[in-house]
Symmetry: C2
Subunit: 342 residues, 2 copies
């Protein structure tokens, strides 16, 4: 017979409530007590997943993760963050990449939840940022949490983790300006992601604050992909007055810019400074490594998943609130002062 939470409580000499607190990683347990409970859990080979039984619907053991993103590193980080919390809490994780522009997406997600009996959904951008979709899911009784791009808590009654892309994009642009760049190209990410206009706004605000006039020719629309970075950079580098620095809205775009610069025989960062966004593993591995903004995608996803589970366990077992994250500027070898004008 597998050990129960009662066995653990007896062996550790504590109350059921304390064991439950340890299992749920609540802060209110003293270190010594926590260690005793963890030892008992180990010795009895107790599986905390059984604690999921206390959920209102004992039949829903899995969460769904919904995303639409061309960047494998981002996807893996979101998955791993969600999974780590699912495992602690005894949930499985179903993945559901989808097409954010599909006309029947709301129905697709509602069907998914019912058919696979999911306890709730973690919604990544851009689905998380579509107010119509959100209202539809809420109306259909689907539990969810959102990961979205915003400078502050939208405070709209639906749970979320929000990432201040604008602020970080400002920092990157400021870094380039302080190096001496005034002709700074900007490559947009996918417009259906709210992070795209937010990052653009950070770029535009920094230029304005430093009194640099925007040149529309230096701004190119595209998607969050390597190919769009490559194409966008080729376009910018072919200008009569090309930029001396290019800020790609994510690291994939920046990687495309890097490839375009190298294929044009340019020496990065001396002929062209390049910055990305996200701090994906690629940004450390490219040559030169990319200046970027460190976005703690796995931690963001972990927090979102905790928030969803807290919602499902509304019996007050533990409390988690909306939280904001601010990506941090990371300066690496791909940015340098521009060559002096001849």
């Amino acid at each position: 017979m597998p050990a129960t939470i009662k066995d653990v409580a007896e062996r550790a000499g504590v109350s059921l409530k304390t064991v439950s607190r340890v299992i749920n990683h609540e802060a209110s347990v003293q270190d010594g007590t926590r260690a005793r409970v963890q030892k008992a859990i180990e010795e009895l080979n107790y599986r905390p997943d059984l604690s999921a039984r206390s959920l209102r619907s004992a039949r829903n053991y899995a969460l769904g993760l919904v995303y639409d993103n061309p960047n494998p590193y981002y996807i893996i980080a979101v998955q791993n963050g969600a999974l780590s919390v699912c495992r602690e809490m005894g949930f499985g994780l179903q993945i559901h990449p989808c097409d954010s522009t599909a006309p029947k997406l709301a129905q697709e997600l509602t069907d998914l939840v019912h058919r696979s009996r999911l306890a709730g959904l973690v919604l990544a951008p851009p689905m998380s940022e579509d107010p119509k979709l959100i209202r539809h899911l809420a109306k259909a009784g689907v539990h969810f949490v959102r990961i979205l791009s915003a400078a502050e808590d939208p405070d709209d009654g639906y749970p979320c983790v929000f990432v201040d892309d604008r602020d970080a994009a400002y920092d990157i642009t400021e870094h380039l300006i302080q190096l001496g760049h005034t002709r700074i190209g900007f490559l947009w990410g996918g417009e259906e992601h709210r992070s795209s206009p937010e990052r653009y706004k950070g770029y535009a605000d920094a230029l304005q604050d430093y009194g640099i006039a925007q040149d529309k020719k230096l701004i190119v629309k595209g998607d969050y992909s390597f190919d769009d970075g490559f194409r966008g950079a080729r376009k910018l580098l072919a200008l009569k007055e090309p930029p001396t620095a290019i800020f790609g809205s994510n690291d994939e775009i920046a990687a495309g810019v890097l490839a375009a610069a190298k294929s044009a025989g340019m020496d990065v960062p001396f002929d062209l400074s390049i910055a990305g966004f996200e701090d994906s593993p690629f940004s450390k591995q490219s040559w030169p490594a990319l200046t970027t903004a460190r976005q703690a995608t796995d931690e963001i996803s972990r927090h979102a998943t905790r928030l969803l589970i807290a919602q499902l366990q509304k019996n007050g077992r533990f409390e988690v609130h909306n939280e904001g994250f601010s990506p941090e500027l990371v300066v690496r070898g791909s940015t340098a002062p521009p060559r002096p004008r001849k």
Copy 2:
């Protein structure tokens, strides 16, 4: 009321069996008939997922995907391949990255299947290649399919899709030899993956066939990761007689070699030829793009998933057999003849 398979058959004027064949993508349906059925499915908004109800256990709607791999591109390709079949057939997909060396892995996977009520598991390497684990799962009544590295069907009674890594590694090494290289470094992948000794064997066989003596100093052990590629290359390039070409056992390793070469100021491919394995998106995006072996990971995963579902639906709805895949040599800019000796 949602449309049934019977409604579709009536509207299309065909038998139930024909509709089922179309849903299951069997080849035996004529194109005109197939189009008629698909039109009826669309018009009636029929959801083929309901067909999953005919499974013996109507409660298990999800499959599990089990992997342990440091390469995001590989993981995403395996996930997407499995997902595409799951969607056709009305299954959800739970992901389960794990530690292949965990002592209680068999128990972990059996627990996973029971707790999440999974209909079966798609096992990626190296779990798929561990005979003890496989026997344990079979004994526990877990349905599974394996993706593994082998030159031929192991024909051991358990379903699998096998990939001939050895043959493809031979082709890559032969390509380097034919360019004129005789000092060819080899960087191993993780030893718990059977693909690692298989790829090594392809390398060793090609050297032998071309009468080139192996130099143990040119062979470095490591994992399937960028960092191990970087480290391994630094070691090889520091030799008194360094190699003129390096074959990394996957594209991540080769990317690490490329970074090491560039950080040493080398001009690739003229100072050093580099080849990888897998044809991951990165291999096309690096500068220069990598010579590699195209491994159709998504198609391999699709076939494996079909094979698992065929097993679950043993009522003869459709038949799928073990199948072998051979990665194909793709020559790109990272390989060239060695510089003439002075």
